[in-house]
């Protein structure tokens, strides 16, 4: 997939055959930069005092107005959690992806900050805040288990046992780019 942007103040998403999948509304200023996240799930769009986070199908998740002039170039960290831009005024705006939300049956997990997850159990009316020593890279919730990957560690929670304090943990060497869960097993893919 290709994302393009230009003088017409729009950004567009194309597939590998050159068909246009998405065409954005024209924004106030010329779009000066676009950049895919390493995992290909989202991309960032930079313009004059506008930084936008968009889903791979084109619609935008959120936007921010950094006081940095036109964002002329952007770069993602290799785990896809930090975005940095080169502002036209000489400022360097940094961004973290926050407010990621996952839900499964009666459980909702919300990544409030880069290292804090709030778990809400609507059935039992429980609220649980999970803090991590490093930033959370990716998380997944399915089949009664929640799996959270930080930069050095993977935490596995059993939802049914309501045990949010003592997860099963193991260390990883590289940043995890993807978690695929099955009913019995799960697979983790690192960025190396």
């Amino acid at each position: 997939m290709i994302v393009s942007a230009g003088e017409d103040s729009k950004y567009r998403v194309w597939d590998q055959f050159g068909r246009q999948l998405y065409n954005s509304l024209p924004y106030d200023h010329v779009i000066t930069s676009v950049k895919w996240a390493p995992n290909g799930e989202v991309f960032a769009v930079g313009s004059f005092e506008m930084l936008r986070l968009c889903d791979k199908s084109g619609w935008s998740h959120s936007f921010d107005k950094p006081q940095a002039g036109s964002i002329l170039n952007m770069s993602w960290s290799n785990d896809g959690t930090i975005l940095v831009g080169a502002g036209g005024s000489g400022a360097v705006p940094f961004g973290y992806i926050v407010d990621r939300k996952l839900n499964w049956n009666n459980i909702e997990a919300l990544l409030d900050e880069d290292d804090k997850i709030t778990v809400i159990d609507y059935l039992h009316e429980l609220n649980e805040v999970l803090d991590y020593p490093e930033r959370v890279v990716t998380m997944s919730i399915k089949f009664n288990f929640m799996i959270v990957a930080t930069t050095t560690c993977v935490y596995v929670y059993n939802i049914q046992s309501q045990n949010w304090q003592t997860p099963f943990t193991f260390d990883v060497r590289d940043a995890i780019s993807m978690i695929v869960q099955g009913a019995k097993y799960f697979a983790i893919i690192d960025a190396s």
């Binding site: 999948l21 998405y22 390493p38 995992n39 290909g40 799930e41 889903d55 199908s57 084109g58 619609w59 935008s60 998740h61 499964w104 049956n105 399915k142 089949f143 780019s177 993807m178 695929v180 869960q181 099955g182 009913a183 019995k184 097993y185 799960f186 697979a187 893919i189 690192d190 960025a191």
Partner: protein
């Protein structure tokens, strides 16, 4: 496995089930490679197709003999095959996305503005007409074009529309309840449910 490029991989290229892990070969997208979960070795069979495969998923039930794989090729046709004895059968065309149920053998897809659900996909290996009988087709104009199914738990399907909005579609709750009775197993209740639905 070498030659795996993370940037070309997404959640629909890899699937893991109770006994095998399946992966669309990144160098040959017409092939799905199958690995044994316990030993990590390649399984005896791999699935080959005539055109590029763009999305693939395994069903999540316990029984390895009923392990099935569903995939969409670049023509947006949807196919179903057994994993341990490959036998590819086309079941639907113009499919935007599909999903196996999390806890039972139901298969659901969005195809040409319709929401199609197969309650017992195994039936295709006995009688194709039977498979079409155990199927629900519902008009779903609200999901629009190229919607992505993101979850299918219980009898609810969550669908992400092209503009980012979420839509929830539902299927009949009876097949799910029937599956739950069969799992226990509680055939008395299962038969009672069937008679109730028949009335």
């Amino acid at each position: 496995m070498s030659g795996l490029r993370v940037e070309f991989l997404n959640k629909r290229h890899l699937s893991i089930s109770g006994d095998v892990l399946a992966l669309i070969d990144p160098t040959k997208p017409k092939v799905v490679r199958v690995f044994d979960c316990v030993s990590g070795k390649p399984a005896a069979s791999q699935i080959e197709h005539s055109t590029e495969i763009i999305e693939m998923d395994l069903n999540q039930i316990e029984m390895a003999s009923e392990r099935k794989m569903c995939f969409i090729d670049s023509n947006r046709d949807m196919f179903l095959t057994k994993v341990h004895k490959p036998e590819v059968q086309k079941i639907q065309s113009m499919v935007d996305s599909f999903m196996w149920n999390e806890s039972n053998d139901m298969l659901s897809c969005i195809s040409d503005g319709k929401h199609v659900t197969w309650f017992y996909p195994n039936a295709i290996y006995m009688d194709k007409d039977l498979m079409n009988k155990a199927r629900a087709v519902k008009e779903a104009p609200e999901v629009g074009k190229l919607a992505q199914m993101i979850s299918f738990t219980g009898n609810l399907c969550e669908v992400r529309r092209l503009d980012g909005g979420l839509a929830t579609l539902c299927v009949s709750p009876y097949p799910r309840v029937l599956y739950e009775h069969m799992e226990k197993p509680d055939f008395e209740k299962a038969i009672r449910l069937c008679r109730f639905v028949k009335e």
